[in-house]
Assembly symmetry: C2
Homo-oligomer: 258 residues x 2
């Protein structure tokens, strides 16, 4: 691997990159500790909309990865920021879990059932027909339609479970309205994360295991990318991709932080 560049900031994916479900990735822990030793800013950027930043940091610490909630940027936070920029604190109809309601609440955004200015959906493992109905009626009534992320499936020990992208499709198919997706691979979340990190895009690298979300997010945001083959995308698949990541490693131990 040719690694010519010194980066001043790191955006880092979580599942598949820092850990695999409930399994540690020791090289990930060593990697983050090296960033800290060299005083290089890093921010974890995740499409997981279910957890609050504090809950994410707690999980990272339990995986021996140094993190506080200030190191965490979730697609729920990106969605709440975007909604606040566009519509202030106007009423939102939400389908989602604690991570999303917490992020909306942090911005002072009101949750409503009817006459919503916008509808937002994140993964909700307690989704019901009634919730889907309210989302559809608000969208048909003119509410903007946003979705935290388009992930089709969630890898778990049980197998691949329905991801938020598949739940989102209920509204898309029923109303004919396409949502605005906020999470990776969209550049919306990356641009916001860069602003939080406070490092110039040209000096930052996006690190992840999933070509279609993490690496494409970096490519869409026109920044350098580092692929690590510890998660979703197998090495063999990479040859077929038209746009390659800037760098690719089997383990983060191979990466020199310079």
């Amino acid at each position: 691997m040719n690694q010519p560049k010194s980066y001043k900031g790191y955006l880092i994916d979580l599942d598949g990159t820092m850990y695999r479900g409930s399994e540690k990735i020791p090289a990930a822990s060593r990697f983050v500790k090296k960033l800290i030793e060299q005083d290089i800013p890093y921010l974890f950027v995740t499409n997981n909309s279910s957890r609050t930043p504090a809950q994410v940091a707690e999980k990272l610490v339990s995986m021996d990865i140094p993190a506080t909630e200030q190191h965490v940027f979730t697609t729920s936070m990106a969605t709440a920021n975007y909604l606040h920029e566009q519509y202030g604190q106007a009423g939102v109809y939400m389908i989602g879990e604690e991570g999303l309601s917490h992020a909306l609440n942090e911005k002072g955004i009101t949750l409503v059932d009817e006459e919503a200015k916008s509808v937002v959906i994140g993964l909700d493992r307690e989704v019901t027909y009634e919730k889907l109905t309210k989302a559809c009626l608000n969208i048909r009534n003119g509410a903007a339609f946003l979705s935290t992320n388009a992930d089709k499936a969630i890898p778990t020990e049980q197998g691949l479970l329905p991801g938020n992208g598949s739940l989102t499709s209920v509204m898309t198919v029923s109303t004919g309205v396409e949502p605005l997706f906020i999470g990776k691979p969209e550049s919306i979340i990356v641009d916001q994360a860069l602003a939080v990190l406070g490092v110039d895009k040209a000096d930052t690298v996006m690190v992840g295991d999933n070509y279609d979300t993490d690496i494409m997010a970096g490519i869409n945001a026109e920044m350098d990318t580092l692929m690590v083959f510890t998660g979703v995308t197998p090495k063999e698949e990479m040859a077929d991709k038209a746009v390659q990541p800037t760098f690719a490693v089997d383990s983060l131990d191979e990466w020199q932080i310079v």
Copy 2:
């Protein structure tokens, strides 16, 4: 309207054609009574998978439309017939309401949670993430994937609610497997309905208010169609359609049963 033909059998849609939600359509009642007077066989063909034939007949009678359960053919019955033909009584993982479970039970088909030979989804207003998960896991495990109908929305007094086609998309998007749809506009349900009616296709007409389901079902099955503008499709929309129904009327009172 030019009406040159005498038909020996009628396939008739329900909602929008025989009634509108809980509202009677008086011309529909007169129409069916004329069929009975002239001893012409008819069969109601519906994409509603929720009700049993007995429940549908009861509703028709309450709308002053003569019907027994022998006059009703639901997409749940068509789906159960299809499954039985293809896989015998092999285990099915089902998402759906009473109409679907009743139809599968009538064919002696076993309902299972795991290792299903097929997955079938009909409208389920008590759908949960767990049900969607089981469907996805069975499909990824190789089960055939069927859906009673592709309707995107259900007209109700509350507005347009999510239809079974939109719930079905959760599995389609998550697994990447396209379902086999059974209901209108597919010809599967029409061919089965014709067999139940016992009249030759060339002598039968399909009557309905929804161009995209009822009329397209007739067109796909290569039979004559009668459009009635008492339901979903407005008259103004018809001009844009590449394939026109054989006949079109504002009210079934205009139709001469000869």
